[in-house]
């Protein structure tokens, strides 16, 4: 299948079940909310290496936040609810509570909840104050600029991690241009994040390594420099660069919609091929076919 001059490979992205949550970070000024959100989502590109994947879903205006201040919506994903809970406690405690003027609220109504503020409150050393408003419990923790307000519990739900597309182009410049357009289109979809730097990853990995201690290693089949050397390559003739965009979402539909939008946006001059990464279909619960997306098929 082709869109203009770009081949859409007949393959699928193999995505996994994860658990996700949404935080609403607010502050007196947008720059402080942004600082906290960036800090919280730092070093959160891959659940294997970072224990979670996180990113800013979008910037929020004051009329979209619980306390009427500027804010940011942040999504975080981990393998299980306990993993989400532990990362939230660590990251809200170290990256949001520390940031001047901020507050952090649960942004996901879900059947399952994990305790976050209820653990962070102990930082108050007995001076913390619990409040309940309209059925929601939150904590006021005394800090040096006043109080840090954090919701007692955060909603978690089964989510989808590892949606992806692979953009193969003649040059790095062409791939970067396509990836930039794709990530911009994907970010328009609510409920998804692109956890890698700028939404793009160049070090695509495979499971395992010749070195026993490594759980993952470089996916040589997509490295253009090894095209003439490795026994099996997925780098087409004339391709000098491959970039991947990884998508995590609160549900399958959001991931598929983001992939669909990104796929169409990435079709640009100089892009030879758009493909997707999978493990033969044996590992991931969700198989998202690219041809189905082009045809408009979304869950």
């Amino acid at each position: 299948m082709r869109i203009k001059s770009t081949e859409i490979v007949d393959t699928f992205a193999e995505a996994f079940e994860m658990w996700g949550t949404r935080m609403i970070i607010t502050a007196d000024a947008p720059e402080w909310a942004d600082a906290a959100a960036r800090s919280l989502t730092g070093f959160a590109t891959s659940v294997i290496g970072c224990k979670c994947e996180a990113g800013v879903e979008r910037v929020l205006s004051p009329d979209e936040t619980p306390d009427g201040r500027p804010g940011a919506s942040v999504l975080l994903f981990a393998f299980d609810p306990d993993g989400v809970a532990n990362r939230l406690v660590e990251r809200i405690g170290q990256c949001v509570m520390t940031c001047p003027t901020t507050a952090c609220f649960n942004g996901l109504e879900a059947k399952k909840n994990v305790v976050v503020g209820g653990k962070l409150r102990y930082f108050g050393d007995g001076y913390q104050i619990g409040k309940r408003l309209d059925g929601t419990r939150f904590w006021r923790i005394p800090v040096m600029d006043g109080e840090f307000v954090v919701t007692d519990r955060f909603g978690v739900q089964a989510a989808v991690g590892g949606g992806n597309i692979l953009i193969s182009g003649a040059s790095s410049a062409a791939c970067l241009s396509a990836a930039k357009a794709a990530t911009a289109a994907m970010r328009e979809v609510p409920g998804v994040i692109l956890p890698f730097p700028g939404g793009v990853v160049r070090s695509g990995s495979k499971v395992g390594s010749k070195y026993k201690e490594l759980p993952a290693s470089s996916n040589q089949a997509y490295c253009p420099t090894l095209r003439g050397f490795v026994p099996q390559t997925n780098v087409a003739k004339g391709v000098g660069c491959v970039l991947e965009i990884v998508i995590d979402g609160l549900d399958l539909k959001a991931v598929e919609e983001a992939m669909q939008r990104g796929l169409h946006a990435a079709v640009k001059p100089g892009i030879k091929q758009i493909s997707a990464g999978n493990y033969g279909g044996d590992l991931g619960k969700y198989h998202i076919g690219l041809h189905g997306l082009v045809g408009g098929k979304v869950a």
Binding site: R132, L133, G146, E147, V149
Partner: protein, 269 residues
């Protein structure tokens, strides 16, 4: 279509009308509803003796006419809605745990005593003892919300342990007396001896207040949590100013004759 109770005979003395409650009228026919007992002085009478009962029970009860002598309306209510188109007598919503009561005019003393959930909205004024424990009781309101658009009398929030009481106008003396926790917000002025003997909890006022000598001044700061409450109250129709939402408040700690863990937040002009 809601159940409509239209007053046809004004009582000569107050009526204890615990029967007027969605929990007790749910699933009953009009005849059975009219036969529910109410206590008029030392006589046991019926709802039908005072009200014309029409409509259909769908969870909402509408009271029309001067019901200012009907006490205990919505007692122990756990669900549904009561709309009182006028004033209501004492003890409205006593011990309620859920649902909503709206009074379009005034409510007499003892609004929502010892309630644990739900919401009472009084569009006019309320009497003394809003959201209190009964005399001899250890704990008052343990949850839910009481929103009074007008003024309230003395001892608002006496020994409350959780929940929210908001007064759109002024409150009388001893606002938040003996509070254990929870939040009282007064948009107008408070009377004397605010927060006397409070252990924990929050009392907020947008007007200057004279604090007891057993309260200690801490600082002026911007309490972010209060933004949540004020935005919530604005959604419920109280006239919340932007300056209150984003403003600073003087924080007082007290009462030092008790735990000293309570706080009074007075808007910093």
């Amino acid at each position: 279509m809601s159940l409509k109770l239209t007053l046809k005979k004004k009582p000569t003395v107050p009526v204890e009308a615990e029967s007027i409650c969605p929990d007790k009228m749910e699933g009953l026919g009009l005849r059975d509803i009219a036969a529910l007992p109410v206590h008029h002085g030392n006589e046991t009478t019926t709802v039908g003796d005072f009200f014309k009962v029409t409509g259909k029970s769908n969870g909402e009860i509408r009271l029309e006419g001067d019901t200012s002598r009907f006490k205990m309306v919505g007692a122990a209510m756990s669900k549904g809605r009561i709309l009182i188109k006028g004033s209501v007598g004492q003890h409205v919503g006593v011990a309620m745990s859920g649902g909503e009561i709206v009074v379009t005019k005034n409510a007499d003393n003892w609004v929502g005593p010892e309630m644990s959930g739900g919401r009472i909205i009084v569009k006019g004024n309320a009497g003394h003892m809003v959201g209190c424990a009964y005399r001899g009781g250890q704990v008052g309101v343990t949850g839910g919300e009481i929103i009074v658009h007008g003024n309230a009398g003395n001892e608002t929030g006496n020994t409350m342990r959780d929940g929210l009481i908001a007064i759109g106008g002024n409150s009388g003396d001893f606002t938040g007396v003996g509070m254990l926790a929870g939040t009282v917000i007064v948009l107008g002025e408070m009377g004397q001896r605010t927060g006397a003997a409070m252990k924990r909890g929050t009392i907020v006022s947008m007007e200057d207040a004279e604090m007891l000598p057993t309260f200690t001044y801490a600082c002026s700061y911007r309490p972010n949590f209060l933004r949540l409450y004020l935005c919530h109250l604005r959604d419920l129709g109280l006239p919340i100013k932007d300056s209150w939402i984003g403003g600073s408040y003087h924080r007082w700690s007290g009462d030092s004759i008790e735990l000293n863990r309570g706080e009074a937040l007075i808007f910093d002009r």
